[in-house]
Symmetry: C2
Subunit: 221 residues, 2 copies
DNA sequence: TAGCTAACGTACTGGTTCGTACATTAGTGA
DNA sequence: TCACTAATGTACGAACCAGTACGTTAGCTA
């Protein structure tokens, strides 16, 4: 979500395809996240850029393709963050905890992305399915998880024979729910899951949960 | 989601306020879950009932209030299910596992409800906030969790000093994510989280996770 | 510097969609 | 059985909104 900030010469139009495109994407991300796909207004997006609706159709073709472009960029951001993951110098337990915490942090830092994913799920992930960039894109974090799990199993620290994708789902579900369902959860239980004062509590709870699962003696229960 | 099925006398209109109201709610639930709040079409809802759009406005007042009514009924269903919870005769570990499994089952059995909750979160839970029936409704499951946790702590089975609401969030997040994010997860990782063949796997994984967390020695990690 | 094209703006349209004015009838109680 | 009201149907309007036809200009290049 690289934001566009330029000296902005005072008057008249300046030609800058890249800036215009990026600005449309920025505003569209906010608008789609705010109101959902059908609730988002192309006119509103246009009004909040320094350009016009015409340009949205010029660059993206239509509302649908614009939403796909917004998704593609948002997933690109998380991919980049995951590519920078540097936890494999840690011992497996610490590495997994650190990975979980980074996932936690990223979700918290990008609520718009979480909303976009929720919206995309309402629509059956049809935009992802129709995108060349996104189909079966996977996640760099998965490879990291795979390697940590392997070394954890080898060293005997992890008792469970856990699949990397499953563990990724487990971590993601916790991080995702906390942000995505913040509003209904708060309204029903009177507790803000994203309360900054509770941040550390929820963050360590995630690590505790994952580590407990990976190191548990499966005889119990 | 009590579905309406009556002998349906062949011709002419029958006056049945309750049936008409319930039928509208049934169809509206499907339509809102299908397309989201803004994507849902009042005309479409009307067309799929045995009555007309006029009746939607007669009984509910408008699209917004109809959505609120749909939410109220859906939450009512889950409340009822939770009220029937009968796990306290089990030992704490088995009771928690059973509770988690029932949550798992309910989420899987009511994907429309999950979608409605996702949609309501996109809209900041404003309908719940504006509903007398739903504000701070809480959840019967919470009381059950509270009691199980207490007895588990007393008997020394649970090492962790866990809050009931937090544990409820933990269980819910796993169950919710699996259904709500099924589509994006499937599109990105090529794995269907709701694949019936994997159902038992994910169900026991949830129980293992929760029990491991509750019985773990917090020194690790 | 002429001319060409990518980039941009304006104004409009056609279909959609929530909501309602008005007319009607089924069933009930006096 | 008559009248009254809750329940229902029809037809329409007005606003909204995605998308486009058409015209304009900035800036590069030959």
């Amino acid at each position: 979500m690289t934001s566009v900030e330029e000296p902005a010469r005072p008057n008249g139009r300046i030609r800058d395809a890249a800036r215009t495109r990026a600005e449309i994407l920025d505003v569209a991300t906010q608008e789609f996240a705010r109101a959902g796909y059908d609730g988002a207004r192309v006119d509103e997006i246009a009004a909040r850029t320094r350009t016009t609706k015409r340009m949205i159709y010029y660059y993206f073709g239509g509302k649908e393709q614009l939403f796909t472009a917004v998704l593609e960029r948002s997933y690109g951001v998380i991919r980049e963050a995951e590519q920078g993951l540097d936890v494999e110098h840690l011992d497996p337990v610490a590495a997994i905890r650190r990975l979980a915490e980074l996932t936690f942090d990223h979700h918290e830092a990008h609520p718009d992305f979480i909303r976009l994913v929720s919206i995309e799920n309402i629509h059956g992930a049809e935009h992802i399915a129709g995108s060349e960039k996104l189909g079966r894109i996977g996640s760099p974090a998965l490879d990291v998880i795979r390697r940590i799990l392997e070394s954890g199993r080898e060293s005997g620290l992890f008792t469970a024979d856990v699949d990397a994708v499953d563990l990724h789902a487990m971590i993601s579900s916790y991080c995702f729910f906390r942000v995505a369902n913040r509003h209904t959860f708060g309204a029903l239980f009177g507790r803000d899951l994203v309360d900054p004062a509770q941040r550390e509590h929820y963050r360590s709870m995630l690590g505790d949960m994952v580590i407990a699962y990976l190191t548990a003696d499966r005889a119990t229960g």
